[in-house]
């Protein structure tokens, strides 16, 4: 890690410099609209090497998968193969414009088509739209599809969506954006949806349920087919949040087990890099009845040619053009390198790795739910009096590990949500276990090491309260 303070681009600025040579004009200058001429623009001015050093140094202030174990639960921080990057860097992709005619973009539409087909098969669905730009965008698509499908059934009065208490925040937020109200369904003692509570909630205002499977506790929803049947019986539809598909590729096809519409996070399961926040891709898949409502356009093949078209009763467009295409190329590359066999190995090894960590840590870090997990598990960080999960997380940084997801899901106090993924070796997992055990010991003997952590980073714990009370969101020099 680069520990030296790095000035802001503005502080490095020298008047008159420019970091890229630009062509001189070969046409006459035209008159700007007089009343709109901008007198000055206060952007930094830097030479090229200064820009290169600046951003290189900044990059060295990050933990990343390429540099560190990053067991961030629910985020599937697996290795992102370099072949994905090479595939996406083809000039034939970078230079194709979305409004070039279909005949000019046959390669691009073919790739979309093939990826749609592959993902539909992996999920066991009838059709796929690659338009959503991220998981939450896929959720919005899915709940809008549920809304329109219910209307088409003459059931427009169904406006309540059921959401388990372990769900990710995007689930209820997406419902609100689609005009649904939400009702929280509690989890039972086994960490699965409480069937009695579900039964009680299933009245004729229910539009459906949003299920994450495996759920955010890392547990497979054992009653999945039963839950789907209950909701269907009551006239509702079932949405699947596929953020956790890494546990299930080649293991379980949600579309053949009662899930009506679902998103996958291609930036998780399908190894496209997360880029420090995005871009992702949140394809949405549907069974036959819901397929006509998919957002579009989607790709299809007609007499040997590829084309893009709107599904018949589409909810409409969710973004301009066709989705985060550059991300789709990476995901396609990954799926093609895996094949059916490889996909199953992903799930198997991710589940094996998670259970191994669970088995080695559970005596020290308590679990609220003790049965075998899927690709992740949730432990608790209160290993000694006065020690909180936050302290464990920050101390892990000093040991050279990115912390797990903390304080989520909300139903486990002091949650530490650990997802190793299949691309980590036993050796790395063993090193992580050693660090976790040693931190638990420190928590009892030298708790100040935890309270003061991290000390090996460019900055220590930052005062987030002061930052939120008087926000400084832009450089003010």
């Amino acid at each position: 890690m680069n520990l030296s303070p790095e000035p802001l681009v503005f502080e490095l600025s020298r008047p008159g410099l420019v970091g890229c040579s630009l062509p001189v004009s070969d046409v006459p200058a035209a008159q700007l609209p007089k009343d709109l001429v901008r007198s000055s623009i206060d952007l930094p001015e830097l030479d090229e090497l200064t820009v290169v050093r600046h951003f290189t140094r900044l990059s060295q202030k990050n933990y990343s998968i390429d540099t560190h174990f990053y067991p961030l639960g629910s985020c599937t921080m697996k290795y992102n193969p370099k072949a994905n990057e090479a595939a996406a860097a083809e000039s034939g992709w970078k230079n194709i414009h979305p409004l070039a005619g279909h005949s000019e973009a046959q390669g691009a539409i073919e790739l979309i088509y093939r990826l749609q087909e592959n993902l539909a098969e992996i999920g066991g669905f009838s059709s796929v739209s690659l338009q959503p730009a991220a998981g939450a965008h896929g959720e919005l698509a899915g709940v809008l599809m549920i809304r329109d499908c219910l209307k088409a059934r003459g059931q427009g009065q169904r406006t309540k969506m059921l959401i388990p208490d372990s769900a990710h925040g995007t689930n209820p937020a997406s419902c609100t954006m689609a005009g649904f109200t939400t009702q929280t369904i509690p989890s039972g003692k086994d960490g699965n949806i409480d069937l009695k509570a579900l039964e009680a909630a299933l009245d004729d205002s229910v539009a459906g349920i949003m299920i994450t499977n495996p759920n955010t506790l890392g547990l497979f929803e054992r009653n999945i087919t039963k839950i789907a049947a209950m909701v269907h019986e009551a006239g509702g539809l079932v949405y699947g949040d596929g953020a956790n598909m890494n546990a299930l590729t080649g293991v379980f096809q949600p579309g053949k087990s009662g899930i009506d519409v679902m998103h996958f996070n291609l930036h998780k399961t399908f190894s496209t890099p997360h880029g420090g926040g995005g871009p992702g891709a949140g394809m949405v898949a549907a069974v036959k009845e819901l397929a006509p409502f998919l957002p579009g356009p989607i790709a299809r093949k007609r007499s040997g040619k590829y084309e893009l078209a709107m599904p018949e009763k589409s909810i409409g467009r969710l973004k301009a053009f066709y989705g985060n295409f550059g991300v789709l190329v990476r995901a396609y590359c990954y799926v093609r390198m895996q094949g059916a066999e490889g996909l199953r190995r992903i799930a198997e090894n991710s589940v094996l790795n998670a259970n191994y960590l669970r088995a080695r840590l559970e005596k020290t870090y308590k679990l609220k739910y003790t049965r075998p997990c899927m690709h992740e598990f949730v432990a608790m960080g209160d290993v000694a009096p006065g020690i909180r999960t936050l302290d464990i997380a920050k101390r892990l940084i000093d040991y050279g590990f990115h912390p797990p997801t903390i304080y989520f899901p909300l139903i486990v106090p002091e949650a530490l949500m650990i997802e190793p993924t299949e691309t980590e070796s036993k050796k790395t997992l063993d090193d992580f276990v050693e660090a976790m055990l040693s931190i638990a010991a420190e928590a009892k003997t030298t708790p100040e090491l935890l309270h003061n952590a991290p000390t090996t980073t460019p900055v220590g714990r930052l005062d987030e309260v002061a930052a939120a009370r008087s926000p400084v969101l832009c450089f003010r020099g």
Partner: protein, 439 residues
């Protein structure tokens, strides 16, 4: 499989530690009848084979690397300095997650802060967020934000001359709510504002390239108690007065043109900025400055109580993952070009577009319809524009967008875009080809 690091012996040892006999046994919770389906997928390919297959597909496209390019309409062909992808694709940026742990994410966080700061200056606003999916969703979310401010206002005024796909996205985002979306034509200050309007939206420039000043519209919107939302061309803001300085409350943009490839339209960069007053109403992630206990400057995600992970169904938006890496590319682009470079690129676009427009306007049967424009202008053509596009394709020229793609009534309208990528020779060739195409 090169992505799985454990040997069979490792797996055995791990199973023993878990106390299970086989990996299959770990999947006991999955209904037995549904477990391990046989997926019908094509067989796996090696890296060498997959890159060849994908390369062959990519080669089937005919884009700006093979053809003289004058098509814009929301996605633009601009030069990308080599340092932009070289820096942004460093693994430490590329393979990091959202910066939830600030101490080990200062690189990403400081870059976002720098992006926010530069974009805010470009737009003339106080706050810019860390990105939306694209320009269209940024606009839709801005309108949602304006609408939620005041439950008494249920009308949104939209320029008729807005990208048709942006209109469609806005319609989808509002499809669950009782909101009236009304289109106006012409200058934004002429829109029919009243006390029921949540916001007035204007293009800067419009889809057709037409450029209106914004001051009068801002004033009229504010008099009616509505927010004024501007969809801007970010590069243009380097030479023309910023929307913020003219009174915009929210500025949104597609930032692809700032250092990002066209990529068949995605990933793009949804930019959104606003006045300080609106900062806690904004969707999306925002980075702020903070200090550690030793007084060192650092950066954190802040004002998070707006977001879904805290406020769930009451959040201002459901957005979680955004377009981080695209934002980073634009951040590096703005830093590398700086004030001088941004101005120069914008001027090149402006001058070349005006050079092209004046020549095309003098061709028999062609007429430039704009009064004022930046880099894109609308031309009425003597024969259907799509016929021209098809004819010029044979000469390796993409002359623009035939508007009949979106509206069959607009058969003889061609939207032409000229950027710094188009040399004078290329422009002259386009003009000659247009002339011959209609002979």
């Amino acid at each position: 499989m090169p992505f799985i690091p454990n040997a069979e012996s490792d797996r055995m040892a791990m199973l023993e530690a878990i106390g299970k006999k086989s990996i299959e046994a770990l999947f006991a919770d999955v209904p037995a009848r549904k477990r391990f389906p046989k997926l019908k997928l094509p067989p796996a390919l090696s890296e060498q084979e997959v890159l060849r297959e994908i390369g062959a597909m990519a080669a089937k496209n005919r884009g700006a690397d093979k053809v003289s390019w004058f098509l814009g309409a929301g996605i633009y062909n601009h030069f990308i300095p080599a340092l932009v992808p070289a820096l942004a694709s460093r693994g430490e940026f590329l393979t990091a997650y959202t910066p939830y742990q600030p101490e080990v994410s200062q690189g990403t966080l400081q870059a976002i802060f720098e992006y926010q700061s530069m974009a805010a200056r470009l737009f003339g606003v106080s706050v810019v967020n860390a990105s939306h999916y694209d320009g269209a969703t940024a606009l839709a979310e801005a309108a949602l934000m304006a609408w939620k401010l005041d439950e008494g206002r249920n009308k949104i005024l939209l320029p008729e001359d807005l990208h048709p796909e942006y209109k469609a996205v806005l319609k989808t985002y509002f499809s669950s709510f009782k909101v009236e979306i009304v289109e106006y034509s012409g200058a934004p200050e002429n829109a029919a504002l009243d006390s029921g309007c949540a916001c007035l939206i204007a293009g800067y420039p419009c889809f057709s390239g037409e450029l209106y000043g914004l001051k009068a519209a801002a004033q009229r919107a504010h008099e009616a108690g509505a927010l004024f939302i501007v969809h801007a061309d970010p590069l243009m803001c380097a030479i023309l007065e910023s929307p913020g300085a003219q009174g915009a409350d929210i500025v949104v943009a597609e930032g692809q043109s700032l250092g990002n490839a066209m990529n068949f339209g995605g990933p793009g960069l949804g930019m959104m900025g606003a006045t300080e007053k609106l900062m806690r109403r904004m969707p999306g992630r925002i980075v702020g400055e903070a200090k550690d206990h030793d007084g060192r400057r650092g950066f954190v995600l802040t004002l998070t109580a707006r977001e879904q992970h805290i406020r769930r169904e009451k959040a201002v938006s459901n957005i979680c993952s955004n377009q981080g890496l695209v934002m980073l590319q634009s951040c590096i682009y703005m830093a590398a070009l700086g004030a001088g470079g941004m101005k120069q690129v914008a001027s090149l676009c402006y001058d070349k577009a005006h050079y092209a427009a004046s020549l095309i306007n003098s061709l028999k049967g062609f007429k430039v319809k704009n009064r004022s424009f930046f880099k894109e202008f609308l031309v009425s053509t003597p024969i259907p524009a799509q016929v021209i596009v098809d004819r010029l394709a044979k000469r390796k020229i993409m002359p623009g967008l035939a508007l009949s793609r979106y509206d069959s009534k607009k058969e003889k309208e061609l939207l032409i875009c000229v950027t710094e990528m188009n040399s004078k020779t290329e422009i002259d060739r386009l003009v000659a080809a247009l002339k011959e195409a209609v002979l």
